[in-house]
Amino acid sequence: MNAITIIMSVGYAALGVDLVVNSNYMDSFVAFTVAAVFAFGLLDVFSAKKRGAAHVLTGGILSMIFSSYFVIEYFANDFDFLINSRKWTWSGIASLIGAAILGIGGVFSYYLSKKTFKSVKIKTGR
C-alpha cells in the first residue's frame, strides 16, 4: 500500500504542476489536494495502518471523481470548440492522459485500501 500511496501522491503533484503550467489553476488546486490526501496517508501508515488506509481509500475515491470530472470537462470543451469552430482540438491531451491514468490508480487505491482496511486489526485511537 505504501508504494501506491507514494505513486499517487507524486502523480497528482506532477499533474498539479502540469495544470499550473497550462494556467488551469483551480484544477491544479484539486490535484494538489488529492496529492495531499495521499501524502497525509503516508504519514499515518507508520503510526496507524488503518488511518493510513483511510487516506488511501478517500484519496482513491477523490481520484476517481476528479478523473471522471476532468475527462467530462475536457471532452465538453472540445465538443463546444467543434460546434463553434467546426474543428476538433487535442490541446491539453497530456493532462487528460495523466488524469485518466491517475483515475485508474484511484480504483486500485480504493480496492487495495479496502482490503487492508478490513484485514488490519490495529487500534486507531478513535
Partner: protein
C-alpha cells in the same frame, strides 16, 4: 369510504419521506441529511374501504421541541391526534430511535414501529429479533426498506391491529407515584380537552415549557410543582432520561445482536473529509468540481440550443410587421436567451443532488461549524446557505431548524447573498462574453465572494441585532451512500421545473413588456423608445458604476426575477450577447455587474418568503434597502480599484 389520519413520526433522516412516497406514490425529495422536511406534508391513498391521509412530519429526536420544525411535529401530535402513528426508525440505530417511541406511547398514540433501512441492518451484520421486540414493546413492528417500496397491505393491517395505547412503567416506583398524582390532578380539569395526561405529567416533570404552560393556564401549576417537590423531583429530567435509556438498553439486549464495533467505510471517509487540515481544501475542491462540471458539461448543449433559437428567430423575422418582431426579437431572443441555460441549471442541480445524496452535505456543515461560530452563526445555518445555491426562497424555509430566533433572522437576512441558480444564468452570459476559458473560474469566484459576503454580513447583523452567542450544532452524520438515479431525477426535476415554469410565465411576461417598451412609439429607433426613456431617466444613478441605460433597465426588470436581466439584455442584443455586451461594458465593468447582480435586491418570491417566515414586513424591506446599497458600494469599489490597477 371511511377516512383515517396516519402520521409519520421519527428522528431526522430515517426515511419518513421515503415511506411517504412509497405509500402515497408522491415524489417528494428525499435527502441523505437531516432537516430536509421542515413543514408537514400531506398525501392520500386508498386502501380497501379506507381513504388514508398521510402526514409526513419534520424529524424530531424528542417531544421536547425547541426549533420551529420540531414544534410543528409535537403540536400536530398533541392537537390533531392522528388515528395511527407510524413511528419510522433507523433500524441500525435502535438505541437512539426508541427514545421517541417511548414518548409516543406516553402520548397514548396508537403506534406502529416501522423498522426502516433493513438492508443496512443486513449489510452491517446486525441481527434483530422483530417478534421479540414486538412482544417487549407491546406494539406492532414492521420491517421495511422504504426507498425500495413497501408492502402497503402489511403496513395497513398492522395499523388496524395496533393496540390503542401502551403504557411503559419504566420510572422508579416513587417517581411513578408522583406522575400518577399529577395525572389525577390534571384529569379533573383537562379531561375533555384531549390532552394526554401521562405525557403532560412526565413532560412537566422534565421541565417541558408547553406542559408547564398548559398546567399554568388551568391553574394547576402550583399544585403540580408541590407534588414534585414532595420527594425532591423538582428537576427530574435526568431521572427520566436515565430510566428511558435503561429500558431501551434492557430491551435491546434481548432483541439485538451487533457485531463488534469496528471502523466502517463511512468512518474512514469521515476521518479524511473532516480532517482539520485537509477538510477545507477538499470542500473547496468538491465545490469547484461541482460548478465547473455544470458549466463545462452544459456549454455544448447550450450552444446547440442557441443555434436552434437563432434558426427559429430567422424564420420569425420572415413574418412581416409587429408579429414577426414580437416573435423574433421579443419572445425568441428574450426567452430563448434564458432557455439556452436550461442544461446549465439541470447539470447544476444534478451536481448538488449528488453532493446531498451521498451524505457529504452533513460533513460540510460539520466542517464549517467552527468557522460559522466565528461569524456568530451555528453550523445549522450552513445548510440553508448551501441550499440557497439552488433557490433562496425555499432555502429560507429551512432556517426553521435553527432554535435561536435572532440567529434565525440573521440566517434569513444573509441567505439572499448566496447566489441562487437564477443568478447563475446572468453570470454565464457575462462570463461567457468576457472571460473566455476562464469563464468557469470567474463564476466560481463569484460563488466564493457570495459565501464570504454572506458571512461578513452575518457578523454585521449579529452586531446590529445584539446576537451574542451562536447555538451549538448537534447533527447526526448520515452514512455515505451512492445516489440513486431516481432520487437524482426527482431532485433535478423538482427544482429545474421551476425554472421552466418561470420561463413560460413571469419571464415571458417580462420579455413581452420589454419588447413592447423597446418598440413604442411604433416604428421608432430603440434609442428613442419608451424603454430608452425609462432607462435613461434612471441611468444617472448608475453612471458612477458605468452601467448604461440598457444595463440599468435590465437590472430594474431583474428585480422581479433575476433571469429577466438576461431576457431584457437578450431583447436589446438581438441574439448576439457577446457583441452587444462588449459595446456597453469592459471586463472590469462586467465583473462589477456580476457582483452587483449577486448582491442587489432579493427576487419577489424571496421577499414574500421572508415576510412569511418572519411575520413582518420590516425584514424584507430592510433586506431590499441593505442589499441595494451594499451592491452599489461593492460594485463601485471594485470598479474604481480595478480601473486604478489596470492604469498602473
Amino acid at each position: 369510504m371511511k377516512r383515517i389520519k396516519v402520521a409519520l413520526v421519527g428522528n431526522p433522516n430515517v426515511g419518513k419521506t421515503a415511506l411517504f412516497n412509497a405509500l402515497t406514490g408522491a415524489h417528494q425529495y428525499v435527502a441523505n441529511w437531516p432537516g430536509v422536511t421542515v413543514e408537514k406534508k400531506t398525501g392520500k391513498f386508498t386502501w380497501k374501504d379506507y381513504e388514508i391521509d398521510v402526514i409526513d412530519l419534520p424529524g424530531i429526536y424528542t417531544l421536547r421541541a425547541r426549533s420551529i420544525d420540531e414544534r410543528v411535529s409535537r403540536d400536530y401530535l398533541i392537537k390533531e391526534r392522528p388515528d395511527v402513528v407510524f413511528n419510522v426508525v433507523d433500524a441500525t440505530n435502535l438505541n437512539r430511535n426508541l427514545y421517541l417511541t417511548i414518548q409516543l406511547s406516553e402520548m397514548g398514540l396508537k403506534t406502529v414501529l416501522i423498522l426502516n433501512q433493513m438492508d443496512q441492518v443486513k449489510n452491517m451484520n446486525i441481527k434483530i429479533n422483530t417478534s421479540e421486540l414486538e412482544k417487549r414493546l407491546g406494539i406492532r413492528v414492521i420491517e421495511t426498506v422504504a426507498t425500495k417500496g413497501v408492502d402497503v397491505d402489511e403496513i395497513m393491517k398492522a395499523a388496524f391491529d395496533a393496540s390503542p395505547s401502551v403504557k411503559y412503567e419504566i420510572y422508579p416506583t416513587q417517581f411513578e407515584e408522583l406522575i400518577k398524582k399529577i395525572e389525577n390532578l390534571s384529569k379533573g380539569v383537562l379531561k375533555d380537552k384531549g390532552i394526554p395526561m401521562r405525557w403532560l405529567a412526565v413532560s412537566f416533570s422534565e421541565g417541558d415549557e408547553l406542559a408547564k404552560k398548559i398546567l399554568e393556564d388551568n391553574n394547576l401549576l402550583e399544585e403540580a410543582e408541590k407534588i414534585l417537590s414532595e420527594k425532591g423531583y423538582q428537576n427530574a429530567s435526568l431521572v427520566i432520561a436515565r430510566s428511558r435509556y435503561n429500558f431501551i438498553s434492557s430491551t435491546l439486549k434481548q432483541v439485538e445482536v451487533r457485531p463488534k464495533e469496528s471502523w466502517t467505510i463511512s468512518d474512514a471517509l469521515d476521518h479524511v473529509f473532516t480532517h482539520k487540515i485537509l477538510g477545507i481544501p477538499i470542500f473547496v475542491s468538491i465545490l469547484w468540481m461541482m460548478f465547473q462540471f455544470a458549466f463545462s458539461a452544459s456549454t455544448p448543449l447550450s450552444d446547440l440550443i442557441d443555434l436552434g433559437f437563432q434558426t427559429l428567430a430567422n424564420y420569425a423575422h420572415a413574418i412581416h410587421g409587429w408579429v414577426g418582431s414580437l416573435i423574433g426579437d421579443g419572445i425568441i431572443s428574450g426567452v430563448g436567451s434564458v432557455l439556452v441555460f436550461v442544461p446549465l441549471i439541470f447539470f447544476m442541480f444534478f451536481a448538488m443532488g449528488v453532493l446531498e445524496d451521498t451524505g457529504y452535505m452533513s460533513r460540510a456543515a460539520f466542517l464549517i461549524d467552527r468557522l460559522m461560530h466565528k461569524f456568530k452563526l451555528s453550523g445549522k445555518a450552513f445548510i440553508p446557505m448551501i441550499l440557497g445555491f439552488g433557490c433562496n426562497a425555499s432555502a429560507i424555509m429551512t432556517t426553521r431548524t435553527i432554535e435561536s430566533e435572532k440567529e434565525r433572522i440573521i440566517s434569513i437576512l444573509i441567505n439572499p447573498f448566496i447566489s441562487c441558480s437564477a443568478r447563475l444564468v446572468v453570470y454565464a452570459v457575462i462570463a461567457g462574453a468576457f472571460f473566455g476559458r476562464f469563464a468557469g473560474l470567474a463564476i466560481f469566484s463569484i460563488y466564493m465572494v457570495s459565501i464570504a459576503f454572506a458571512l461578513t454580513m452575518a457578523v454585521v447583523f449579529s452586531f446590529l441585532l445584539k446576537s451574542k452567542e451562536s447555538s451549538p450544532l448537534t447533527m447526526e452524520l448520515p452514512r455515505y451512500q451512492l445516489p440513486t438515479g431516481r432520487g437524482l431525477w426527482i431532485y433535478m426535476w423538482s427544482r429545474g421545473k421551476h425554472f421552466l415554469k418561470k420561463a413560460g410565465g413571469i419571464i415571458l411576461g417580462a420579455t413581452v413588456t420589454v419588447w413592447f417598451l423597446s418598440n413604442m412609439p411604433w416604428g421608432t429607433n430603440i434609442q428613442n423608445s419608451w424603454a430608452a426613456d425609462i432607462g435613461k431617466a434612471l441611468a444617472p444613478i448608475f453612471a458612477p458604476l458605468h452601467f448604461d441605460w440598457h444595463i440599468t433597465l435590465a437590472l430594474l426588470f431583474g428585480g422581479i426575477a433575476k433571469e429577466v436581466t438576461v431576457t431584457t439584455l437578450g431583447t436589446f442584443a438581438g441574439g448576439n450577447f457577446s457583441m452587444f455586451l462588449k459595446t456597453v461594458l469592459d471586463p472590469i465593468n462586467a465583473y462589477a455587474l456580476m457582483l452587483f447582480v449577486l448582491i442587489y435586491i432579493p427576487c419577489v418570491a424571496t421577499q414574500a418568503v421572508m415576510r412569511m417566515e418572519t411575520g413582518s414586513y420590516k425584514w424584507p424591506i430592510l433586506s431590499v434597502l441593505w442589499s441595494l446599497s451594499s451592491a452599489y458600494v461593492i460594485a463601485l469599489l471594485f470598479e474604481t480599484i480595478g480601473h486604478l490597477v489596470v492604469m498602473i
